[in-house]
Symmetry: C2
Subunit: 294 residues, 2 copies
């Protein structure tokens, strides 16, 4: 049970965390801060936060748990704004989709206060952003990856594990490097490919006609292309090294498929497709439940 939650960034992720803690009776009071005062006011009117703070630092003051839920690129600035109140024993977490850059920023800015920061990535979201879509169940049944480093206070890692578990999430631990490689592969690269593919269709001279003929396969394949531009800009730049590496691997398998198409080698093409098809048919979401990776 926490006394006060400080939410920096009252959006979908921060608002949903506040609602989940409130619903679970895990916190007495929520203080929120957003760059735009109208957002903070709206969060208060919606009953998601109890008190609107006038700065990030004021949202930290008196809190024993703090969630930094700002776009990835704004994390370092937030650390700078709050560093003087980053006290031992207070649990600080973020929700960023990339972790190496966040850990680097924490080391640069927080320095000796780094042990209080437990980097977190909840695998949850919606195609819509904003506090008005906050949902107490957003994290229920989802995975949350913690990427503590050597200096991170293990007591706070345990507290982080407990609070995410209490809102229904499955907690995994990984290194920031493994995290970023894994999410480049299963999230960031697919987004990049979906953006590129949808743009290519739109730019085709007959693109409008094509789009009117597209069916359910297209609908599902391109759903993630509707992702928020500012969020995905930050993620793709923050994790570009890994994403570009995985994209090169993707191009190699695409080359192999196109090569057998060109040569008309039907058997080889069928074999390549079968590998993917059987792999996908045997895959189930959440196959990692209950396991912990370092």
């Amino acid at each position: 049970m926490f006394n006060q939650l400080g939410v920096i960034g009252c959006g979908l992720m921060g608002g949903s965390f506040a609602l989940a803690l409130k619903r679970g009776g895990l916190v007495r009071r929520v203080v929120g801060y957003s760059k735009s005062p109208s957002t903070t006011e709206r969060a208060k009117k919606l009953g998601i936060i109890d008190v609107a703070a006038e700065s990030a630092l004021l949202a930290v003051a008196g809190s024993d748990i703090v969630l930094i839920a700002v776009p990835v690129a704004a994390t370092e600035g937030t650390f700078k704004a709050i560093r003087h109140l980053v006290e031992p024993g207070v649990l600080f977490m973020d929700v960023g989709s990339t972790k190496r850059d966040v850990v680097d920023a924490a080391r640069r800015v927080l320095r000796e206060r780094v042990p209080s920061f437990v980097p977190a990535h909840p695998i949850a979201g919606k195609e819509v952003a904003g506090i008005q879509h906050a949902d107490a169940s957003l994290y229920n049944g989802r995975q949350v990856i913690l990427t503590p480093v050597q200096q991170t206070n293990p007591v706070l890692v345990q507290k982080a594990t407990d609070v995410w578990s209490a809102v229904g999430a499955q907690v995994l631990k990984m290194s920031p490097e493994n995290h970023d490689a894994a999410f480049a592969a299963v999230s960031h690269l697919p987004h990049l490919l979906a953006f590129a593919y949808f743009s290519a269709v739109m730019r085709h001279p007959s693109g409008r006609d094509f789009l009117s003929l597209a069916g359910p396969g297209f609908r599902d394949f391109t759903r993630i292309a509707a992702g928020d531009p500012a969020i995905w800009r930050d993620i793709l730049i923050a994790n570009r090294e890994e994403v570009l590496k995985q994209s090169a691997r993707f191009r190699t398998t695409l080359d192999a498929l196109e090569h057998v198409m060109k040569s008309g080698n039907a058997d080889a093409l069928e074999d390549l497709i079968r590998t993917a098809s059987e792999g996908r048919a045997g895959w189930q979401m959440g196959g990692g439940r209950g396991t912990t990776r370092q």
Copy 2:
């Protein structure tokens, strides 16, 4: 109202067409043929066909409507098997996902009997194949593209339009060339990309771990990677010229996105993503309803 439907290829597509015509009271009797006698037997036991024919030719004999529902690569062989009974006034259709190759095969094999053949592509399917998944509602609310050529008998084109409309489908007409370009863009290329992407993840040394972390975005993006290998082998080879052309366009937009990622130009990256994101957010499936394209 038809007297007898001949179904060549008792699978998901052929079986669903037979069921839909039966349910609509549009046919008195269904005669079915499949390469494997056990499939034909099963179709009969399931009540999808009334009579099991011992050859494709025997499924045509006495029929006033014939649906060729075999894999695209088997269409030419089917034309050869039935050509002596391709009579004027009898409606012959296929269900292939590519149309230029089918029209070419029809011209080569059927010659002066080409007017009886109305090339058709119902935009419907499931991730599972086989007669046991046949569904009388498969075509309800879906689009069916007809690609008649100059010689095609307009009376049969009208009959084809009527029968697909009667089972609840929306009928569009296009040239075989426009059809193949459009479906390369919105169906064949996404499948190729999904096969390539899923294979690339599987082949990564940490692929198993990555897959256990994948979430709902990945699930939707890769759903079509589970497509049937034999069907997609045939489609990708039959329409390879267009698919490779569209893939090159895709690579150009992917190059542009990667270029701005590498240069760290966040504004340019956001602009490129925004184009795709807003385009996708504004897209609705079935936007082509009620229109006809040549």
